[in-house]
Symmetry: C2
């Protein structure tokens, strides 16, 4: 493609109308929607996006990050700000590209990322979720004990094999570093804040399902720790519904460390 330029895109979407991030034939996906808008505007045959967090069907994002390599000639048309506005007009309103910038040297949206932060929102109001929040908040009709959930989540922090909370993928490690897993309540809405270097498949939704069982009193405070130690999928740990989950933010190291970080992450993981 001649000289290539890497762009960083910051993206937000309502996962409700998408079959997840990753392009799949015959399905409406975030990746395919963005790639075709980019190809159309930049007048290139195909734009290929690499993403920080491959979200499942129904999962939302506010702070998703991806990158794309395009021939520098495709950008001759004007400043990147103009590209952002053209994307805003062309894209459907359930996906927005909030920002487009030239990626710093060594930047890889997936492998340079140091951490991903997700939020999972639950309402334990016995009469149901506020209708205006129902697409991003799960209804849990039993009262949740938030301090208890925080105590029960604590032993999961740190580097562990999270196999018990992951859908296994062949050849992929399930060792992850969980940096934060805390719960807060605002009126009837209880929010989990979950930060890790990376997540394996279904991990956030399994962690949340496990802690909800504790919060409603169906399981004891020590249960999440026991599940973790067993290192195998536990039939009583539910994977909660996707619509309560939002990818809020992706963290990157200072520019000078981007390439090193990417090389290291690529070596230890086959799945981010």
């Amino acid at each position: 493609m001649g000289e290539a330029v890497r762009l960083r895109l910051d993206v937000a979407y309502d996962g409700g109308g998408f079959s997840g991030w990753a392009a799949q034939p015959g399905r409406r996906t975030v990746q395919a929607t963005l790639e075709s808008a980019l190809a159309l505007i930049l007048r290139i045959e195909h734009a290929s996006l690499t993403v920080a967090g491959r979200t499942d069907a129904g999962v939302h994002a506010r702070g998703q990050v991806c990158h794309v390599d395009v021939p520098s000639t495709a950008l001759a048309d004007g400043p990147l700000e103009r590209l952002t506005y053209r994307l805003a007009r062309l894209l459907p309103d359930d996906v927005r590209v909030r920002r487009v910038v030239l990626a710093p040297t060594g930047f890889d949206a997936r492998f340079s990322a140091c951490w991903r932060r997700y939020a999972y929102r639950v309402s334990d109001d016995p009469v149901g979720v506020d209708p205006l929040l129902r697409r991003t908040v799960l209804w849990w009709p039993r009262l949740l004990d938030v301090p208890l959930m925080n105590r029960a989540a604590e032993p999961l922090i740190g580097e562990h094999d999270f196999a018990a909370f992951c859908k296994q993928r062949k050849g992929a490690t399930t060792i992850r570093t969980l940096r934060e897993f805390t719960w807060t309540r605002e009126a009837d809405v209880v929010t989990a804040r979950v930060v890790a270097d990376a997540f394996c498949h279904n991990m956030v939704r399994s962690l949340v399902g496990c802690l909800l069982a504790v919060g409603e009193g169906r399981q004891g405070e020590e249960w999440p720790h026991l599940v973790l130690q067993a290192q195998a999928r536990h039939p009583q740990v539910p994977v909660v519904a996707p619509h309560g989950l939002t990818l809020e933010e992706v963290g990157y190291p200072p520019d000078a460390e981007l390439a090193t970080r990417a090389a290291r992450a690529r070596a230890v993981r086959t799945s981010a």
Copy 2:
């Protein structure tokens, strides 16, 4: 119906899927949805709701209030809390009855109300509304000057003939007391807080449309006041889209004044 009991219901809904509050043949409306659920649960032929704010198609509510008179025998089945839970299970998730209580003597959801508070939300982010907020926030792609909008709104406060901002209904007065009309910004989301004793049809959305024209610089600061004084619909005042509008709260006087307030309001207005 034998001895009748009046119930007060506090209701929230996502207006997106409804043709407004008021029942209309062949349309999905909030009133008809609630009335059929109540009739089914209470095993009565028909439940007839009276509402504080008849919202238009697409308008949302968090703090809507209505009342219904039911035969006391229909409540023999158990405490009102049980009725609330049964409604929660029966109703679709875009409408919730948050509370059911016995109405105090003299209570009328429409005529006892002292004030209605609406919020109208607009995003002036040039790249568009956060996809997770797009169903309750209007996209206004031009930057809004919030301090200017607050200055321009000020002369509208007080008792005036709001004919310029109302869709006329025969025989109905358009004199209203606007108690509050202020704008605040949180990041790209600008929110109007509009409080009045009552609103005539289209009033909030016309007031907002008028002030947006000022905020983006298309009209001068004095324009809203001039429009008000003209007392006739102005072709350049747009009625903004319904999805940015939410009925947030309805205020009632102390119980002892409910009946007096209702008698007075009924006398001066034919439309609330």
